[in-house]
Amino acid sequence: MKILVPIKRVVDYNVKVRPKADESGVDLNNVKMAINPFCEIAVEEAVRLKEGGTATEIIAVTVGSSASQEQLRTALALGADRAILVETDIEVEPLAIAKLLKGVVEKESPDLVILGKQAIDGDNNQTSQMLAALTGFAQATFASELKIEGAKAVVTREVDGGLQTISVNLPCIVSTDLRLNEPRYASLPNIMKSKQKPLDIIEAGSLGVDIEPRNKTLKVSPPPVREAGIIVETVDDLVDKLKNEAKVIT
């Protein structure tokens, strides 16, 4: 079984980002970049399927600028066999990314595509479902457990009230939720080895799809500021304030 793992380069999750002073966008000067946490979970799941004998090859792919090679190397160090960069300097939206990934799916014919449910920059949560729509594959989103059973994937999904288990035909698209697994750290020898693994670059234009943005960001502003309140000294004070000042309990 061949697994394709699309990943994304994003601002490290520990960084608190702010809008630029002129509100023209997000201030990303000199911030630390990393592989999106949900994508790391996707890589880990693919590696476990390979270690368990289900998968034979793992291909990591990303859409972005040349700098994204750094995150592909991370995926290679974590256990992907080879990597593909679909290179573009346009700020691509999920629909465009899904169209480009469809092009890669057509070239590589994977049996399974695993990707993160959302990237922590745009918080869109769209790419996997869009890729499923464009390829005509079934989708199993927000996965907390994944089992391959013959020509099907049995996936337990995190849904609002609890868990839902579905069975989908392969090939399919799976998007990862937080509890699917706990990703490993790349070991130093594996980081060294990853530098020798193949990384191909495809020009986004060569895939012949429309990747022009449909959304225009008019401004990016800070959220309404919540003023810190007061520190109460005792539980009695707290109950009194909630009853008589905030009037939220009776």
Binding site: A132, S221, P223
Partner: protein, 308 residues
């Protein structure tokens, strides 16, 4: 052109998130139609017809829609999409599952998790865990939108819409429902509760959540948790409030033993009144709390319980 709202329901009842989306839709121009796709869903259908502001309820009642499988629901929505300028759903796990599939099939972008509507093509939405609010203008002919339900009040249930039965069958046959484990609880649901009490890593273990339960019972509150508490295995994932969990905005949110990581604040900082109980006076949660109590939760929470 009209506006299509996709109902969130469990076949028997309409979920309040549908009412929030109808309110959002009233900010746009056009009749509001609600699609109820389910199986044996007459209960949900009748409730949908009562939501104030809805002109028409479209019902697709067929076994393939029973469990809201994205492949079948998306095909159904696309099949009836021609007359609509805007298609909206709540940003629930169902909406997040089928709506991007709808937009890709229609070859339009999706605008996720909107918190305000400026005009028919311009919307506000939080990005970077709510640390920035983007104002986005979309150029597609049809707008596919998921709505952050906490940003819009729920429409009242005193309307009477026309009901139309659809004869639409869409079963792709590539996915199949196996089972569902939905937590049974007498408490309100997190996303619609007026009061929430949440525990974090400071709770130390799952058993200790019992001390929150007693307070929750007295306040009619739902119980939530931070990602740290979920990751530590104290409580199931459906308790999680935060960027990747549930987004809530109750009248009263009580954070117990929660430090206040950015990812947690993203899920609760629009609550009307926030109370924080934490023994670490430097915990960032105090920066958003209306009332902070610096105390050991294991003495403060039982004391609070006794005084309610």
């Amino acid at each position: 052109m009209s506006i299509l709202v996709i109902a969130e329901h469990d076949n028997v009842e309409i979920k309040a998130s549908t009412n929030n989306v109808v309110t959002a839709a009233t900010n746009l121009e056009g009749d509001i139609h609600v699609l109820v796709a389910g199986s044996n869903c007459s209960g949900a259908k009748d409730q949908a017809a009562k939501i104030y502001g809805v002109a028409k309820v479209l019902v697709a009642d067929s076994p393939e829609y029973e469990h809201c499988l994205a492949e079948n629901i998306a095909d159904l929505i696309v099949a009836i999409s021609a007359d609509y300028s805007h298609i909206l759903s709540p940003a629930t796990t169902n909406g997040k599952n089928y709506m991007p599939r709808v937009s890709a099939l229609l070859d339009v972008a999706q605008i996720s998790d909107i918190t305000a509507i400026e005009s028919s093509d311009t919307f506000e939405r939080p990005i970077y865990a709510g640390n920035c609010i983007a104002t986005v203008q979309n150029s597609d002919s049809k707008k596919v939108i998921t709505v952050r339900t906490t940003a819009f009040d729920a429409a009242q249930n005193d309307g009477s819409a026309e009901i139309v039965d659809l004869q639409e069958s869409h079963n792709l046959g590539i996915s199949e429902f196996i089972k569902e484990e939905i937590a049974e609880s007498d408490r309100p649901e997190l996303t619609s509760a007026d009061v929430i009490i949440s525990g974090g890593r400071g709770m130390q273990n799952g058993d200790n959540f019992k001390i929150l339960e007693s307070v929750a019972d007295k306040l009619g509150a739902a119980i939530g948790a931070s990602r740290a508490a979920v990751d530590s295995g104290f409580v199931p994932n459906d308790y999680q409030v935060g960027q990747t969990g549930k987004i809530v905005a109750p009248d009263l949110y009580i954070a117990v033993g929660i430090s206040g990581a950015i990812q947690h604040l993203a899920g609760m900082k629009d609550s009307k009144v926030i109370v924080a109980i934490n023994k670490d006076e430097d915990a960032p949660i105090f920066q958003v709390a209306d009332y902070g109590l610096v105390a050991d939760l294991f003495t403060a929470v039982p004391e609070l319980d006794a005084k309610l």
